[in-house]
Amino acid sequence: MSVPMPSGQILDVRDISLSFKGVKAISGLSFSVQRGEICALIGPNGAGKSSLLNVLNGVYRPDAGEVIFEDIHYRRITPLEAARRGIGRTFQNNALFKRMSVIDNILSGLSRHARAGFFAQALGLPPARREAREHRELAERTLAFLELQAHRDTPVGNLAYGLQKRVELGRALIAGPSLLLLDEPMAGMNADEKREMSRFVTEVNRGLGTTVVLIEHDIGVVMSLSSHVVVLDYGRKVGDGTPAEVRANPEVIAAYLGTVQ
């Protein structure tokens, strides 16, 4: 299977505004993401980064603006529809199914690809068995890729935090998303774990051609991992460009360090 050639935009965010009971979280935000790139969203806490991801995959509904993903235009989309269109997502505070095993969590990501009907599953008919076997093989590949085989049958709630983040990546990955939204995939990790996670994200991006939009606070990681950085502050875009450009942008420095007027 060939990786589609990166060309053109995959995501275009136009004038998105979002508020919670009158408090502006995002105001008039526009930026675009090229197919095949790793785009990092950075900014201080409360800048609206997670809210933006929630708008993109339909958890929140913006007040104004429009999102263009692939060839669909939307302002409001349901999370289910976003998943069907190929948007994968991980959350800042892991949103895993804690009482299920690692393999079951990963398998659950394939749910929307499943075709076997109710009675085929209830009676264990060949189509359901065949599909279960295919999905299991794909899940095993994902486990191998993320080096999670040792934890296959462990309930996810018992895993270390860093491993949980990896399981969540696997669950999003197995569905073959064309756009992957990662909300602080390296939060709370030590340097080794961050390096590993960076490697996984890079491999996904290069090997599968998956476009990645991620939120990250570790500037070192952002600079080495991403090819495009968007900086938010108080719900507004204050910087947009290559890592080097963004680093040199005085507004960005002001947002992070504050300024003396």
């Binding site: 299977m1 349901t78 998943a83 997502r89 749910s111 009676l123 095993e140 085989q149």
Partner: protein, 354 residues
Amino acid sequence: MSNLSHQLPAPFEHAPLALVPRAIPWGAAALLIVAFAGVPWLAGDYWLNAILIPFLVLSLAGLGLNLLTGYAGQTSVGSAGFMAVGAFATYAFLLRVPVLPLPVALLAGGAVAAAVGFVFGIPSNRIKGFYLMATTLAAQFFLEWVFTKFPWFYNHASSGTIAAPRLALFGHDISGPVGRYLLTLSVVTLLTWVARNLVGSRLGRNWMAIRDMDTAAAVIGIDVDHHKRLAFAVSSFYLGIAGALWAFAYLGTASASSFDINRSFQILFIIIIGGMGSVAGNFIGAAFISLLPIFLSQAGQALLGGNVDPGQIQNLQKIIFGALIITFLVKEPEGLVRLLAGLRERLAVWPLRF
């Protein structure tokens, strides 16, 4: 994997993928042989009528509720209402369409219960937890009222009760204790096998995902509303068939009051005590709920028979029963099935501790 248009970069050579055919479950097979071939010869009528048949039916009802509550995470206190639907619907089919064979009437009764369950599951789109429980409570009282209020359902009998016209299978009369026991056992075995298939398949996984975190389930592409309604329907199908068996294989004659709120709570206790999210737990819970009172009453008679007022003995039994439930739940909130699994794990490494 041809239908999935992506490939993961890692090589797939040494994954210890043991997709070997599942080992033959010897334990379960032996249990089934004993239950089908041994028990009918060994157990007397009292055991079949008063202990084994109700135990099996309650296990089935527990299984039905467990699919909804233990797997899909939707609490219900309307189980007995759905049992009543199954019982009255099966009765209607047997009575008004006499050509229907018993298994078909049972299936049809279950299907009607499933449809009713589906309808009462629709509010689960919007409400959760305690509020959803309140709607199942409403279902319980509403259904009980329907089967009391409209005489059509009990064929205008002055007593308000229904009795099976005749229990027959392929021309054989199965209204004796052994026949009813084998009927119940066959249905329970079949439906337990189906339940195991369901919870081990994608459907069961989706239910558990919704139970553990429904927002995340939607984000990864699980249709949450559809799966909740489906859980209500499947659960009610099981409960409906359990209700029909309760009425015709156990009680013989039944009325709406055979399916009151106390029965719903009994079934809820079965799954709480046995273990939520477990198939075997229902049988353990049902055994506990149905056998312990009998054991306590026998023990009470033997120990205190002549000396203490029988009414006092009964009260004492209730106190002991309640105390035991509390003790078990404090010891293992995940139910007896977890307790037994823990025991087995510890026995496996005995005498070492871990």
